[in-house]
Symmetry: C2
């Protein structure tokens, strides 16, 4: 029988986490004082995103490691999309007393490995442990602009090339596989049976459970003169419409540039690819052109037509549909 | 019938929050982009603390306004205790679909008023909304050291005066009133009946539900040469023992300086007063001497004797005792 967090003191659980989370190269003071202190060379970027058991993940599908990885990745993506260098994470972990301590340890390792892979130098510098009936991981990511201006959503201008770094639609296809094929007759999630996966599907599940967008390209894009940038978390169509509205422009995509499954690329969420606009065709390495910015009012076009259809994801209105 | 968050889109709920949270004087970019951007003049202090319905608060006792206030206060205290100026809060709010939207609005107002009262210039700059079966408020606070060194727990030295700014023990006395007098026969919390409060007890409840420590004194203490500082969140005895261990000293309190209820002052948590050590008797305004630092190894004394007895609060081991 595994040890549960309810059998350990807060200090014992913390020690097991801190031993695994690595060290931020920006941390002047790490865990153990009232707050962490980060060496800071420019303005500071801050963002928070939470994963809640139920709407955001299921333990039948996600390991503790997956959870830690994803909780880090979605926040690091928001920092990178501002053109900032991620420096630190804070992790607020609320969990039931019967949570296996191994899950917490794996979660810490997932946080560490996602930082090492996606934003080297960044690490967990602090956090909070509480008891809750619902396993909840609220991560805050901090970034340093290092003297640069932030790259906002609102700077795209007519004539710009629209480009993306990272995958589009694969995470959503992975989620569809989980919902379609790995639930029981009552709709409850069941563990993934590898024998029921076709070639290439494991990679789609990984894109959903452990997204690995090329976030180091965020600062590269900023230095290369990106006029606007954001991460694609809710689907390209919805997120691009936000950029188009914020910038007061039309963003037009070319389906030939969107890969074999254009619908998935336009509507699938949670890839956390970087979507950016650049003033000319000289894109930085890692970015590929997928469209153009033209004059007009806050609209997204695909192959010259306004894009219709399901465009995104709202956790409240979509809750019933996915809570089965 | 009140509107619930489940009936509104994420955008509609966010708009109701953002309208109420005020504006950080450090915010170059506020809510609405991938991340917020803070003007930063020194190294950055970051901390996070979570309130979970059940172990940390009860809606029978706390209004939405109280929750917002307390969630802000406990985090602002950690920033102030480093000697930093609080600049911004991020709020990750996870709530059941049947949560009344008024509660969310009141929570936003409590966050704003706590910032205005305890750390003027600081405000909510971003956050995250998710659905959860358990109402959970994870707040991250960010502070700017403005070129100063952080004041750690580890700098107290023999000969220093130990001083406090703010109340000790009153929040714990307020919690005891709630547990003793405002629960039904099954142990479930019931609303506070003002007719059952004696003179002065309302103020004790307020100390528990809406703590208002003098956090502006954090930067004052730092500029006045404080050698160590922390906020008293888990009771003076336990928190001072942490400072004593981190500094490798003995901290000795004088009961005559601890007010009428010495036991409450030593063991009551959640006042979030600032506990600091200063190299001489020239204390900054707002701090009062309560003890001395002497040579020795990580111990807390009261009137010359090692302090024994219940010294603190662990959310895991204490959960059963208070979840009734």
């Amino acid at each position: 029988m595994s040890v549960t967090v309810g059998e350990l003191s807060e200090g014992e659980i913390l020690a097991r986490i801190v031993r695994r989370t690595g060290r931020s190269t920006s941390a002047l003071v790490g865990p153990g004082d009232d707050a962490a202190v980060l060496r800071t060379s420019g303005d500071t970027v801050v963002t928070t995103d939470t994963l809640v058991h139920g709407p955001d993940f299921r333990l039948a599908w996600s390991s503790g490691y997956d959870l830690g990885w994803k909780a880090a990745a979605v926040n690091l993506a928001d920092v990178a999309a501002m053109g900032a260098q991620p420096t630190a994470l804070l992790v607020a972990l609320a969990m039931p007393n019967d949570t296996a301590v191994e899950l917490v340890e794996q979660l810490a390792e997932g946080l560490r490995d996602a930082c090492d892979a996606l934003a080297p130098g960044c690490a967990v510098v602090g956090g909070d442990l509480t008891v809750s009936n619902t396993l909840t991981i609220a991560v805050t990511a901090i970034g340093d602009l290092e003297g640069r201006e932030p790259v906002l959503r609102s700077g795209a201008a007519p004539g710009d090339v629209v480009a993306v770094a990272g995958e589009l639609g694969r995470s959503g296809l992975g989620l569809a596989i989980l919902f379609d094929r790995f639930r029981d007759e009552t709709g409850e999630p069941i563990p993934v049976d590898p024998d029921r996966l076709r070639t290439g599907e494991r990679a789609l599940l990984d894109a959903q459970l452990r997204p690995a967008p090329p976030l180091g390209l965020g600062t590269v894009a900023a230095r290369s003169g990106a006029t606007a940038m954001m991460d694609v978390s809710d689907g390209l169509a919805l997120d691009a419409s936000r950029m188009a509205r914020a910038s007061g422009v039309i963003i037009s995509f070319d389906s030939a540039a969107l890969g074999p499954d254009v619908h998935a690329a336009m509507t699938g969420g949670e890839d956390h690819a970087l979507l950016a606009a650049f003033p000319d065709d000289a894109l930085p390495p890692g970015f590929r052109a997928i469209g153009r910015v033209t004059a007009g009012a806050g609209e997204v076009m695909l192959d010259g037509e306004p894009f219709r259809g399901r465009r995104g994801w709202d956790p409240y209105t979509d809750w019933d549909a996915q809570s089965g």
